[in-house]
Symmetry: C2
Subunit: 202 residues, 2 copies
Amino acid sequence: MAKYHHGNLRREVLNCAIAMITEHGVEGLSLRKVAKELGVSHAAPSHHFKSKSDLLAEIIRESYEMLTSTILAAIADHDETTATQRLRIMGSTSMRWAVANKARFSVMMNPDVSRFAEEAVHKALAEFVGVVADAIGEAKGEGFYPDTSNAILLLYAIGAANGIATVLTDDLVKTAVGVDIGENDYDALASLIVDTRDERPR
Amino acid sequence: MAKYHHGNLRREVLNCAIAMITEHGVEGLSLRKVAKELGVSHAAPSHHFKSKSDLLAEIIRESYEMLTSTILAAIADHDETTATQRLRIMGSTSMRWAVANKARFSVMMNPDVSRFAEEAVHKALAEFVGVVADAIGEAKGEGFYPDTSNAILLLYAIGAANGIATVLTDDLVKTAVGVDIGENDYDALASLIVDTRDERPR
DNA sequence: ACGACAATCTTGTCAATGTCAAGATGACCT
DNA sequence: AGGTCATCTTGACATTGACAAGATTGTCGT
């Protein structure tokens, strides 16, 4: 009595895969187990994602879209800020998002997946990078690190925020560093990243 | 005519695995292919590493040792520096090392591997973290970010350096950010991380 | 209403892989 | 010489991703 035409198998595969990654990591993701979990045949997912890499790439694409809209929404909630303050909000929001979406973030940070990324992923990622780059450009006009090129600042900002989030989402490193984060600490960390002389009076 | 008693199969497995990861990523690592490459039977590596995770964990352990001794050596070469300057050197050296050892670094940053890490890995990692923590403690005495706890600073410093290195070693993100790094830029990036008011006169 | 068509799902199959068990081989020591 | 142990081989098994071919269902034109 196999149930044909599941309805929205594609979405359920994505959700189930993320749940499985949350519990067992990317390595623990098995398309066949996903299919079993959803009560479909082992080959059903392959009609929505042409390969495992393809499924993971879609998770990445979707996640970058989520992240981008999340930081944009956060900025919209604080409309009175300067560009430098917007950068800070973007940083803290990104880190919070990563911790709240460990599975998605771990896939995004997995170089093995990006290796097979396709056009759609590049586009979503470029959009995210673009938003940060714009904020840096505006902050530059406010005297933000005037001696450093925008390209280096972009690398620094994205790298630092992602790296801190990585430490917070990697149990091994997190335990070694031995820090437990409270809600306020995200803002403190973001401040450390975008720290400039003008805004940290001795 | 199979050649028994290979001699130093353990080390050759490690080297071959790293070479394979360099070319095809962690996902592209196959114990059987390593064995074939080395001209031994498919089960030979299992007598030196009880599982694939075990092999990867050993690569991580070894790599943290390499990284720790590399930054200690770099500091020893600049004996005239202050603690804050030592932090800067540690940061730029770490990032350079990561770029020069992409395969090892990608394994270290892979959460799926750390999930199964054992005591020896924890120890090597703790040693690395300890070196950074010590430097931060000393810098603190020089007025380094006096308003921020050592724990947060440690998280920030390690996270930022690792994150920037991650961007530089991930082709997808690196391309999206669109930056090409020169030798001097590592120092500039390290300066951005340990940037304090006192050392960046307007 | 009806039949083609496309989308979706199933069943069957294959090669690759990690892991384990049992036996073979060779170095070293006494 | 003989035994002992680490090392390696052979053989086997379950899991997995991927593919091919067929079955089922919804849709759309007529």
